[in-house]
Symmetry: C3
Subunit: 391 residues, 3 copies
């Protein structure tokens, strides 16, 4: 692929509204900004395939603040930052840490990016990430730091912009461009997992994002598996504005029928997450265990929410594109019954891995767009310099 096309469409100078910005939620970004990130990622991937190094930092630090282990996103962040020449430093800080401002400010001294992943607590998680971003802003305004690091949400209670933009770009690549996603049916469907306590970030983020590009979006979930208040309204509004549609149904089968893209994904209901956040704030660990146990017991009623080969048959021409943010809970591989069967997983594994492989490029593109006043020129310099990544 020729990456010059993508580069020529990147914003320059005053056109770069992402300069100096953070990435907290896609719904704080314009469509044009989202497309710029996707284009940047696309160009970076093509460069990699041509052994061209996009290292724009001679030195620099990328701090990662994960409240719990997430190997996939952590690796993606590390790989994306390394591509640009940044060194990864882990600063494992929990939400419970009392002095967030101080921690965030300390992390930001010499950091070029702060990647934050904190998804366990409804509202608190978002507020935490926001507070990190605000502290960094203040430090910059007060002259404490010279360069303002870019804050990246790598997964919160609300959204996971790296994952969803990676998915958008991955679909775009499959269907020949973001504009071609218009009118395509995508099913985002709850799926059974014995774990059952996953965050809402990805399903919420997906229906909030893809409805902006004219897709026909169907969200399917069993009764009571609600997302955060406001999500459905946002999706509906987006769909209307973009000329797409949005529907919520309570059957996986209905959702996937004739879909061109399906996204089976387990999540915990909002009411459970809210309750768990309360118990956590009250230091009632034992009751959290009980609450989680009850959720898992209840979920057993929905053990048939599994993507099987029969389910795949119902999709458009029986060959919908299957997306998942990984790790997936796979029947017979990671558990007795999961989100999809081993056959479905096996048949789609290469594609799932390629999908996940978009994340480092999205992260790197986000950083360049936030740190370069003129990203088009920065990418051109990279392309012209054509430094080999290795020899």
């Amino acid at each position: 692929m020729d990456y010059c096309d993508a580069i020529n469409k990147l914003p320059e100078n005053s056109g770069n509204s992402l300069y100096g910005k953070n990435y907290l939620r896609t719904w704080d970004m314009s469509n044009e900004e989202i497309i710029s990130v996707a284009r940047g990622a696309c160009a970076l991937k093509a460069m990699r395939e041509s052994n061209v190094s996009p290292k724009i930092f001679d030195s620099g630090v990328a701090v990662s603040m994960f409240s719990k282990e997430d190997s996939g996103m952590k690796l993606a962040y590390a790989a994306g930052c390394d591509l640009l020449g940044l060194t990864i430093i882990d600063m494992d800080k929990k939400l419970s840490n009392s002095n967030i401002n101080e921690n965030a400010a300390m992390a930001s001294y010499m950091a070029d990016t702060l990647g934050v992943c904190e998804s366990d607590f409804i509202e608190k998680s978002s507020r935490y990430i926001k507070r990190v971003a605000d502290t960094v802003e203040e430090s910059k305004n007060n002259g404490v730091i010279t360069d303002k690091p870019c804050v990246l949400n790598l997964g919160s209670d609300e959204d996971s912009p790296v994952q969803t933009i990676a998915d958008l770009q991955y679909m775009a690549a499959k269907f020949g461009g973001i504009e071609n996603l218009k009118g395509k049916k995508i099913a985002v469907t709850w799926a059974y997992s014995p774990n059952g306590t996953r965050s809402l970030a990805v399903p919420q983020g997906l229906v909030s994002l893809v409805t902006r590009f004219g897709m026909n979006v169907v969200l399917a979930a069993p009764e009571g598996m609600d997302l955060m208040p406001g999500t459905i309204e946002r999706a509906e509004k987006n769909a209307e504005a973009s000329g797409g549609t949005f529907a919520k149904v309570s059957s996986m089968e209905e959702a996937v029928t004739d879909a061109e893209i399906i996204v089976p994904i387990n999540w915990a209901p909002f009411s459970f997450l809210e309750k768990r956040t309360e118990l956590h704030a009250a230091n009632l660990g034992t009751y959290i265990d009980l609450l989680e146990h009850e959720l898992r017991e209840n979920n057993k009623a929905f053990i048939d929410w599994e993507v099987t080969e029969e389910m795949m048959e119902k999709t458009k021409d029986g060959k919908a594109l299957l997306l998942h943010d990984l790790p997936a809970d796979v029947t017979d591989i990671t558990c007795i019954r999961g989100e999809m069967t081993a056959q479905v997983y096996g048949a789609n594994l290469s594609s799932l891995l390629a999908e996940a492989g978009m994340r480092p490029y999205v992260i790197a593109a986000m950083i360049i767009l936030a740190k370069s006043e003129n990203p088009r020129a920065a990418f051109r310099t990279i392309a012209e310099r054509a430094t080999k990544r290795y020899f």
Copy 2:
């Protein structure tokens, strides 16, 4: 700021007495050496602000050996090393590890620096750091290693040279030069913290260092909150030699009155630390808990050793420079009663963060001075090369 001035005053060739040296305690360094580190840090900060990269290593390893988590200093070390092109490798080794020589030697094979932080055990901690340094020296002498890594004390039972030189340079920047610190009153004062078990490294290191530059130093602490034997004598001798003064008082109020710089800081009394070291050696964990509990109970008598706005009022023009090595224990933010009130903390936060922000530059300067035979030429090469840190 023009950094060429600072560079022109750096030592060259045989004038660089720091070449091949380690940094264990400031009182093993000459005033000129300390000033060189401060100058180097100052030049590096100015370079950063001009987007000039001081990367002098094409590749290389900075090993960090922290006996317990200290995010602030660990990040500072990582950031300072990264600035020079070194990769950070964590080698979390405890003092209890039986074969220190082997560990230290293994760490030093390909390392350019070894940053060691071990502060819990009176005398043992220093001996540990010293043993690491000695092992490295032997490995060099025996031809086991080609390049001798520089050993940095990032915090021991005795001293924290990175912190104290960073503070010295920060004060110097505020008052227009180290020479202008002469005659300024600085109060290093014990302050209450519910934790109460912090090491003596910073208060000891500070009174040992700043007395060498003609300052009028007052150390304040409640009865019995003693530092290590020899500290007071050292401070007195230094003050006399430098034309400054040193006094020990038992009232925070008295100490801060008319002070131009105040440093509220909690520490555990020497007698407690000595006792804890004994119990630890005897594997009496339960009694350590009890000992710490007793200390905390006793400390409650000194809950008023807190920097309040009223206390600040008593300082010179009511606006003394407030220093702290962070994290601070702040009333209403991190605890119910702490070293300072939230108001005092809030009003001084930008400055506290800027103070902490000096540490990576001090570390980087220490490394260049220890690794370059001719640091003045090395800095000049950096300045002339003027590689942009990022574009």
Copy 3:
């Protein structure tokens, strides 16, 4: 040392049979391939000593997957990868992790190398490393990844190729060339350790490797301290083919008599490891503890299998080269009775450390040979470029 000689003997183009390969066991490699790795390591060491940087990657990721802590090999991997310009990312994955394929594939997206250390489970460990390698291969074939990372076995149940090739090259350097090892007597001898549960990788790997270069190899162990089935047969076959000899004896004294190289090393008998693997698979943790306790009790019968000064006296001219993969269990230093006395350890420490110091170069050489189509040209480019590692 002039490194050009070594470079001129490296393979080029179609002659590089290691291109695109992994390093799982030395017995999957030809003698010529092993010698190429040793030569590459030798050249890299000489470059380091001349301050020449072999950084061939402008950016890139080296993932490390250690199932348990091994500071020595982990540091060696980090140092070796850093030398080439790769950033180390830790991905601590246990064998118990259910979805190895997904983990391995995720790790390989943007990785240039995957260093895997997993030695606890007989057969399972090797199968695990093999599966990582196979997954990477598949990902490459399916177009999921652009560059295939090189998989390095950093220690399995079967072999530890980095350690053994480092030892081979270290001996070669001591005796003036690999060809000079022919006819030299080497004793690989079991030695007592209070721990007693070490893996078979190093003793198996050593007798499998050094028998290929015409050495007179004696393996000594108490009755019942068996290696994996097939090891003795492999060693015998190798010895015959290379014009060397191989003998198994049950006395340390007999083994070390007149030996020019001795390798005291503790290992657990194969039958114990097999049993432990079974118990582990059955989730019978308590019985594993019991099994290990029994082994340690039984081992006490062999407490005299210790390299003492008297034992050293029996070696050729009383001054055999002592090898150990470190950390060693040393009497009076790390334990009450161990593999060797403190005197023997002390007298040989510099050499032991220098031996361990070969590992980073072996790792770096392995990577260059697997990633460069034409390693001779790559090394020549490095030599001609002559970039200083630091100034």
